[in-house]
Amino acid sequence: MNIAVASGKGGTGKSMVAANLAFSLSVAESVALVDCDVEEPNLHLFFPEDQPEVSPVSILVPDVDPDRCTLCGECARFCAFGALVAARDRVLFFPLHCHSCGGCMVACPAGAIRETLRQIGTVTERSISPNLLLVTGTLNEGEVLGVKVIREAKGRAGAERWVIFDASPGTSCPVVETLEGVDFCILVTESTPFGLHDLALAYDVTLQKGIPSGVVVNRSDGKDEVVHRFCNENNIPVLAVIPFERKIAEIQGSGDLIARRDPAWKDRFCAIGRACRSLMEEGA
């Protein structure tokens, strides 16, 4: 069962929900938790582990052989991202603009371009417990192709009974990539107009991708009528409401998990997991 946790708005508690859900389910079953927020991964903060296994993520980029290059400029004319410029005496390459499509190599009539690897990030695997694997995708600072790192990180999980993907905020390419191929999406929102606004956007993405979803209202001040109305109108199940409480914030702020501290929360998060499964089975 593959579950993505998304929200649209940042700071609603995606990582909090993902970490607690993964921890709770791992007490009885095997779980992989994948941090797909590759620009600012943070799930490892909840799971200290001193022997992480780090492997590089690389993309293919062009390497121009100056002896073969005729400076015809076909590669630069092909590139829609301005990654290549045919100057008067050499071809310049701007690595951060390259989307690794390989088109320049095909376009080159002189066969002067071959592809080489360039590292853009890492995937880190941490064995938190015999039942819990944490995979963290990290995009190097200044790089733009987060999707490649997300794809690589997602590929490391799959053998486990539960795989939980923590998405980045927003609704653009990284979120779409995280949602690719999942069975269910948990949408985390909060009791604010911004939370609701972005929940609607994120929900729209799940609709377009045909992924069943459910809502977790986090940091609830008890005045969530508009969120519940939105969920009712769109027939989205509300999986849980987590109150806005100082105690929860303190546990979270100390780097701990409410499900690790309090068995009642562990049971509640296990129930969220079960609800996701039965909703997925109903939809199938």
């Binding site: 400029g73 630069a76 004319r77 590139c79 829609a80 991202f81 301005g82 990654a83 290549l84 410029v85 045919a86 100057a87 008067r88 005496d89 050499r90 310049l92 701007f94 603009h97």
Partner: protein, 111 residues
């Protein structure tokens, strides 16, 4: 010498555009023939990499000198590698003709 001025419109009387890569037009003035050519910038609305693409456009059109308000880092590298001289001309609201005259008069600072 072929001088390029990024502009908001295709005519010498149009206003200069302070953005190099995203200027809608490039006006190229040939100092030997005194003739002007104008081109729509094909990359003006591009998603990214417009600086290098604009530099490529200038190289493809045999430009020797670029007269503009400012140039970004990537475009700068490409223009320098292509041997194009960059002269800074930052006079908001002035026309392409004014920029050509400023070039002819001399005294523009090189980047």
């Amino acid at each position: 010498m072929r001088i390029c001025i990024p502009s908001k419109g295709p005519e010498p009387g149009d206003i200069v555009d302070e953005r190099f890569g995203r200027a809608p037009y490039y006006l190229i003035h040939d100092t030997e023939t005194g003739k002007n050519e104008s081109y729509k910038n094909p990359a003006a609305e591009g998603m990214g990499g417009v600086g290098p693409r604009a530099a490529q456009f200038l190289l493809d059109h045999d430009v020797n000198v670029l007269v503009t308000a400012r140039v970004g880092g990537n475009a700068l590298g490409a223009l320098k590698a292509g041997g194009i001289t960059i002269l800074l001309y930052d006079a908001a609201g002035s026309t392409v003709m004014d920029a050509i005259n400023a070039y002819t008069t001399g005294g523009l600072r090189e980047q």
